[in-house]
């Protein structure tokens, strides 16, 4: 069914050794590896048809423009946008969210308004709202997480009121793995007139996401976490919302007309893309979603449920190891954060690195969540399409080695 062996052959980086041990890459939650087709699409762009887009009349530029806009269509279709005009290319999830905070936020948020987010957010979906609230006199409320790593939905429901203008929430936690019941939460938010922004940095790479079925209002995600290059991300929103928003950055390509007295803006989506865009990167991003489409997002989700299930099972047996986040693999993605006794996460990651295992240690850009857990840092393994049960076994062996080496008495 899901042929990991075959998939791995498409990823040149995986065929290497670190410290003389074959590389086991367990940090896709931070950034995924890239298949051959993605890397080559950018190489080909630079070698054969590199040129600035949109205004060129010569063939290189026409080819580059078509490829850039075609990539937009691919990414828009991938999340089932109703038109490609709703898909704005940004640098990453962080810029997508900042764009909303600056453009939609400053125009719509008033003193006394409430923005609801959660305790488990990545800083990218937290600091911009704190800043917006500070600038506008609004208030941010954080849905607490329960002992089991779920959202306290009773609190959420109790907090919903007409004063709530925005619910900004991750569709999959990058630490706990938690997948909140987004569809219901969106319905509830809409019932009080609030818009909903989804941080899709972790969800879009790992499960089917359909903006029309979800009925969300904004979706932010990053290319580099879903087989695409660095330097490219996306913001999706509905046409009516985007049309009413003022531009974020201004300059070339996002204007229709400029005079010394003022300017009129370009049509969607270009109104939000100022200056020369990340052309090669957009093309690579388009190839990435094509690769994912080829595998099928439902199959990818299924593969990760199975792998996460096996990993939870194995890790739960490791001495002194504690996992944070839901234990039911259906309720979570494949990012598993844990601690092991009082061994520092840095040391665990360093010992694992010695075994060829790439794993992350730290606060994973979610300091408030770690404060809540009472931990300065955790170690996190995260899986993707190229990971196998064998990788989990190697991880467990590595952890045993770390414990042996670093237990103090």
């Amino acid at each position: 069914m899901f042929n990991t062996k075959k998939i791995r052959q498409d990823f040149p980086i995986l065929d290497q050794k670190t410290n003389n041990k074959p590389l086991i890459y367990l940090d896709s939650g931070a950034s995924s590896q890239k298949p051959q087709t993605v890397i080559e699409s950018m190489d080909t762009y630079y070698r054969q048809y590199n040129a600035n887009v949109h205004r060129g009349i010569y063939q290189l530029s026409e080819k580059a423009s078509a490829a850039y806009e075609n990539a937009r269509k691919k990414v828009a279709r991938f999340i089932n946008a109703s038109t490609w005009r709703e898909l704005i290319f940004t640098r990453n999830t962080t810029e997508s969210i900042n764009l909303v905070a600056y453009s939609w936020g400053l125009a719509n948020i008033k003193p006394g308004d409430i923005i609801i987010t959660t305790e488990m957010e990545h800083h990218a979906n937290l600091v911009p709202w704190q800043q917006l609230a500070a600038q506008t006199g609004a208030m941010v409320k954080y849905i607490p997480i329960t002992e089991q790593g779920y959202l306290d939905l009773a609190k959420y429901e109790a907090w919903l009121s007409p004063a709530v203008k925005l619910v900004a929430i991750t569709q999959m936690s990058n630490v706990l793995g938690t997948i909140p019941p987004i569809k219901t939460m969106i319905k509830q938010a809409h019932a009080v007139g609030a818009l909903v922004l989804l941080d899709g940095a972790q969800s879009v790479p790992h499960m089917p996401v359909d903006v029309q079925t979800l009925d969300c209002d904004f979706l932010a995600f990053s290319g580099h976490k879903m087989l695409g290059p660095t330097g490219i991300g996306a913001l999706w929103s509905r046409k009516d919302i985007l049309s009413a928003m003022p531009p974020f950055m201004t300059g070339g390509d996002m204007i229709k007309r400029v005079t010394l007295e003022g300017s009129t803006w370009n049509s969607l989506p270009w109104k939000f893309e100022a200056g020369t865009p990340a052309i090669a990167e957009a093309i690579g991003f388009g190839e990435a979603v094509e690769y994912l489409d080829g595998l099928g997002m439902a199959n990818i989700r299924q593969h990760e449920i199975e792998l996460t299930s096996y990993a939870l099972e194995q890790l739960n047996q490791v001495e002194g190891l504690q996992i944070y986040g839901p234990q039911n693999p259906q309720d979570r993605g494949g990012a598993i954060a844990f601690t092991m006794g009082d061994i520092h996460p840095h040391d665990i990651a360093a010992v694992l690195d010695g075994e060829g295992i790439a794993i992350r240690a730290g606060h994973h850009c979610a300091m408030p969540l770690h404060d809540k857990l009472g931990l300065p840092a955790t170690t996190r393994a995260s899986f993707y399409i190229y990971n196998t049960a064998e990788d989990v076994d190697r991880l467990v062996e590595g952890l045993d080695k770390a414990r042996e080496l670093l237990t103090r008495d």
Binding site: I57, S65, K73, S267
Partner: protein, 134 residues
């Protein structure tokens, strides 16, 4: 490329049909393409039977925009407003008979946009929608 400047296009460009303005008209619209500074004014005279009696265009633009406008005016005369609504991108491209890149497409379609805006008040957004494809 030379292919872009076929004989039929050059003929319309050198000797455009229906160039000028109408003294009496029922519909008129000026449309700009700020990207290249092109501008076209379309005047139309529609009779009681909703039939287009007279058309004239003025303005300036590149050869592609001039030729396509000239061709479009020929296509319009004698058509009903309903029939004129059916003229789309494909019809213009067929008439031009060339392959065209995205930038020049805007030149080629500028007068069609102007006609639609003049004849039945098509909005900027509706035009975008018509142009959009996946």
């Amino acid at each position: 490329m030379d292919e872009l400047y076929r004989q039929n296009i050059l003929e319309h460009y050198r000797n455009p049909h229906n160039e000028g303005t109408l003294e009496t008209y029922t519909h008129s619209h000026i449309e700009h393409n700020p990207l290249c500074g092109d501008k076209v004014q379309i005047d139309l005279l529609v009779d009681d039977q909703h039939r287009i009696d007279q058309v004239a265009f003025s303005g300036k633009g590149c050869a592609i925009s001039q030729a396509s406008t000239s061709m479009l005016t020929d296509m319009l005369i004698g058509k009903t407003v309903e029939e004129a609504k059916q003229i789309d991108k494909e019809a213009i491209l067929d008439e031009l008979g060339i392959e065209i890149g995205p930038v020049r497409l805007k030149c080629a379609l500028l007068s069609l946009k102007a006609v639609k805006m003049a004849l039945y008040g098509l909005s900027e957004e509706e035009w975008d929608n018509e142009e959009d494809d996946w």
